[in-house]
Symmetry: C2
Subunit: 209 residues, 2 copies
């Protein structure tokens, strides 16, 4: 590759550049001063776009890289969808992953079965939320279950509030309830700008599952 | 946990529910019919919110779970930030990760050093983009380098267009150039709804790094 040609609009003279960046760094350093609290964060990934679950998996990966113990409960995904499980099992016993769903409601077409699955998943989630050994708990697609009213929101909010002080929780799924957003420390909304299924391209391993 | 009380607004009678879900499934199955193309996707995670890099790491994790080979080039992050590297090294030799950045420009305050780092990272990226053994290539924070004009956009677009047909590429960073969005198959914009640094909470392992 040849080096990029100088651009007078974006490439200031070196002296100007250093001065500008020094001011930017000073402003940023000032912003970071006084950020002293350490606490378990409640993180929510919501919105209609892709990346909610994958970003949660990325956080889990990072936490595992720090040697932190991570528990993952999948509320919708069933045990057959297992690429992330395959990958995460390399980190056993630091990680536990339980896929306790029955698929999306339009797949199961059975309200009673959905309710039973949600209850079973929530029982496992409660055990993790009560255990300070877990530095991070991922509740994947919990928002879907809350939206479909298969779990009572109040029980979930109570368990989140009562969890160990340093435990991070990551909750994913579109349509996060307002009470959850209000209680969260970090909320990201994923928006869809462009989607390959609309262009006739089928779901592929490594991207969609 | 006690089972949720029935809610007449959201809990239809079982027979209605099954019928409604059957129609939903039929519509969805129809939508999926005809999605037959398999190709390497160009995926872009942009926007001001969190989750761009972590969602890319999640995609990498899934791809690794499928036994796919993954190459990751980090354009901004330097070698000292290593939680994801620590974690991903469990998948060697299936994964290679190179953190070739020098930090954000306001940290380095040295335009020449930034340019040299960008060029070095891009050379490594080009090698991955020319190698069909890599089923997925992650170019983390490439958008930042493009925005700062430390790399020529045309060279990047050419290398992406010329890559192996089945290779997925995931590009992250705020401010994705329009040409990249136009060429992409899947674009997600991450928006910040709430950020803990604004509440005086400091950056923490497992979440911010």
């Amino acid at each position: 590759m040849s080096p990029p040609a100088p651009n007078p609009d974006t490439d200031p003279a070196p002296a100007d550049h250093a001065g500008r960046m020094a001011r930017k760094k000073a402003a940023r350093d000032k912003m970071m001063t006084g950020k002293t609290n350490t606490k378990g964060l409640l993180v929510v990934h919501t919105g209609p776009g892709k990346g909610k679950t994958t970003a949660a998996l990325g956080l889990a990966l990072r936490a595992l890289g720090h040697g932190m113990r991570v528990g993952i409960i999948q509320f919708v995904k069933g045990a057959r969808d297992s690429a992330e499980r395959q990958a995460l099992e390399r980190f056993a016993p630091l990680v536990t992953i339980q896929a306790l769903g029955e698929g999306f409601t339009w797949e199961t077409q059975d309200r009673e079965r959905d309710l039973a699955a949600a209850r079973r998943a929530w029982e496992s989630a409660q055990a993790l939320l009560a255990d300070p050994a877990y530095a991070m708990v991922v509740l994947d697609e919990l928002n879907i279950v809350l939206r479909d009213a298969t779990l009572p929101l109040e029980s979930v909010m109570e368990a989140l509030a009562a969890r160990p002080a340093l435990q991070h929780v990551v909750i994913t799924g579109r349509g996060a309830p307002e009470a959850l957003i209000a209680a969260a420390d970090l909320v990201t909304e994923m928006s869809l700008v462009k989607h390959p299924l609309k262009a006739g391209i089928k779901a592929q391993p490594g991207i969609e599952f």
